[in-house]
């Protein structure tokens, strides 16, 4: 199993009352799977995604990524794990302005301290079909192009897991389709992908769905 969680609990204080964003979540995801996490807003799917992405730590429970218990690691170790094992794709692209597509894609490798980032970044951009747009800044690109840059950025450190949070949410249906096709082709090459979405069509294209409600996995 690439991902195993045992009884993950995350609590928030909302004024006086305690809210359990995650209330005992246990899931397993095997290598090579393409999984959708679905549920209404407030169901805890974003919190689960943050947890799986090592951006957040559980209040209790365990999270094993690639066999390593990462639920209690210090911040800097988690940053390293995000850098090496996880590629993020966000709804709002989250590219850095004032940097070219190429520089954005190089960034994860720079934090990994890798040499020859340029060549790898160029190849990743070619893979996502942006060979001719490398020097453009995100501000001068269409939404679909931006999301492709984000996919390239997610790929460059050859991560074990790609986490996509509503990757088509800001795109029209045609470009959304193209991005999904891109993710599917990555999955076909053996990449493990987790997509958080509330779109039933997207979920249907994934091999498996994890449905969440009130902080619990319901199916």
């Amino acid at each position: 199993m690439l991902i195993t969680t045992e009884n993950l609990v995350k609590k928030y204080m909302m004024g006086e009352s305690e809210i359990r964003a995650l209330d005992g979540v246990s899931v397993s995801i095997a290598e090579g799977e393409m999984t959708a996490v679905v549920g209404a807003s407030g169901s805890g799917k974003s919190t689960l995604m943050n947890m799986l992405g090592c951006l957040d730590k559980p209040d209790s429970g365990e999270y094993f990524l690639n066999g390593e218990n990462v639920s209690r690691l210090p911040k800097d170790r988690l940053a390293g794990i995000r850098n090496r094992y996880i590629g993020f794709i966000f709804q709002s692209f989250n590219l850095l302005p004032r940097m070219s597509a190429l520089e954005n894609v190089e960034l994860p490798m720079q934090y990994a301290g890798k040499r020859d980032a340029r060549g790898v970044a160029e190849r990743a951009l070619e893979t996502v079909g942006l060979a001719g747009r490398m020097r453009h800044e995100p501000g001068k690109m269409s939404g679909g192009e931006r999301q492709r840059v984000a996919v390239a950025r997610a790929l460059v450190n050859d991560p074990a897991l790609i986490l996509a949070d509503e990757p088509t949410g800001n795109l029209d249906s045609k470009t959304g389709d193209e991005i999904m096709a891109l993710l599917e082709s990555l999955n076909a090459q053996g990449r493990t992908i987790v997509i958080v979405t509330h779109d039933a069509d997207i979920a249907a294209r994934c091999g498996r769905s994890i449905r969440m409600k009130d902080g619990r996995v319901v199916s």
Binding site: L55, A79, F88, F90, N94, L95, L96, R98, P108, Y111
Partner: protein, 403 residues
């Protein structure tokens, strides 16, 4: 992350906000510039004094009255204890002396027709120009006979003369000193040593006249002595001190009511004065550098808030806290560094302009430039640290969903 990449990113974000970055730097530019200018004025003044002192020759000794004290308590009529007889005794009883001049000086108003000036009126002996290496440019110095007969004659310093509008052609004219009429017999050659440390703004009269007629003093301001060439200055100093002690009935040298200054003492005193002056000016300028640092901190705090999203993205893709810290720290360091460099250039240029257009002479030392640059870099790190640490501590999730 590669150091070069961090610098590139920092430069980019500074250039993206040109006006804001420049305004933040302006504080540092002004701070560094004024530190350099102030230190250069101080160093220039010091150089002036040194020049002047060395122009007087190295054999000069000056005896000045001091507050006499016994067990730390000052006693008696201080500063009025050097007399004409002391000066005469030095001539008669101390060996290896080339010349002695009693000096009785005070400030006074000089008047020539409708022109007025305030000058230091120095009552001295005919030996005075010889002792201090002064030369007469026009006319002559007063004579021994004039000294004895208490003739009302005056030799003007070059600056005093020009203030009164007197040139070589007006010799023999009469001017008023404290309402008493004096005949101008000569004008001294300009001695240089610019500004307030010059003696060109003086007027020389016979000491007899200064003491009895102008100022009514029965004591001396100081006694200037020129030792013979090749004399052992320390020995001459000791002889003079011993003589004066016996004349003033002082047993314990700690109770001396006078002090013999030699060239080294004078240089040291002058250095101490200008050092204090320089430190004071430099200190005031350093405060403006500090204020500049606060400006940088302010801008960095704004930058961190504006770039919260960027911080979140960077953290999500693997930036550690210290990567974020370094990035912002280097940004503020570049700001203060570039500001420091621009300030140094501005400071050097301003010193040059000051020395060309005013009576202050300035001297920019490499040390003062290095000091100001180092200080500005330190200011950048010190004031950049808090905003950078704040950025580094931010939670990645909060940042990612920050709008």
């Amino acid at each position: 992350m590669l150091f070069l990449t961090i610098i590139k990113v920092a430069l980019k974000s500074l250039v993206a906000n040109k006006l804001r970055s420049f305004l933040a730097m302006l504080g540092i530019i002004i701070g560094v510039g004024s530190v350099i200018v102030m230190l250069s004025i101080g160093a220039g003044a010091q150089k002036d004094i040194m020049n002047r002192i060395s122009m007087m020759g190295t054999n000069l000794l000056s005896i000045r009255p001091m507050q006499s004290s016994q067990r730390g308590v000052s006693t008696g009529s201080s500063r009025q204890n050097l007399t004409l007889e002391d000066a005469e005794a030095i001539v008669e009883r101390v060996d290896s002396i080339a010349a002695v001049s009693p000096v009785a000086s005070n400030n006074a108003q000089l008047k020539y027709f409708n022109k007025n000036t305030r000058a230091s009126v120095i009552g001295c002996a005919v030996t005075y120009p010889y002792i201090g290496n002064f030369e007469v440019e026009h006319g002559r110095f007063f004579r021994e006979s004039e000294e004895e007969s208490m003739a009302r004659v005056v030799v003007l310093g070059s600056e005093t003369a020009s203030e009164l509008g007197i040139s070589g052609k007006q010799l023999g004219e009469r001017i008023q000193i404290r309402g008493i009429s004096f005949e101008v017999v000569g004008i001294m050659k300009e001695k240089g040593g610019a500004g307030r440390f010059s003696q060109d703004d003086s007027a020389l009269v016979p000491y007899t006249v200064a003491m009895r007629i102008l100022f009514g003093m029965d004591y001396l301001s100081n006694i200037d002595v020129r030792a013979a060439d090749g004399a052992d200055l320390t020995e001459v100093e000791t002889d003079i001190a011993t003589l004066l002690r016996s004349r003033h009935k002082i047993i314990n040298p700690e109770n001396d009511d006078f002090r013999v200054f030699n060239q080294a003492d004078i240089i040291q005193t002058a250095t101490e004065v200008t050092d204090t002056f320089t430190m004071l000016l430099g200190g005031i300028a350093a405060i403006s550098l500090l204020v500049g640092g606060i400006g940088i901190m302010n801008i960095m705090l704004v930058t961190v808030t504006e770039r919260t999203k960027e911080i979140g993205i960077r953290k999500a893709i693997g930036a550690r806290d210290r990567d974020i810290l370094n990035q912002f720290l280097i940004e503020s360091l570049i700001m203060s560094g570039v500001g420091g460099a621009l300030g140094a250039m501005a400071g050097i240029a301003t010193s040059e302009i000051i020395s060309r257009t005013s009576t202050f002479s300035t001297s920019v030392s490499p040390g003062s430039v290095a000091l100001a640059l180092a200080f500005s870099a330190a200011v950048g790190v010190f004031f950049g640290y808090y905003p950078a640490a704040r950025a580094a501590r931010l939670d990645p999730i909060d940042c990612l969903y920050y709008e």
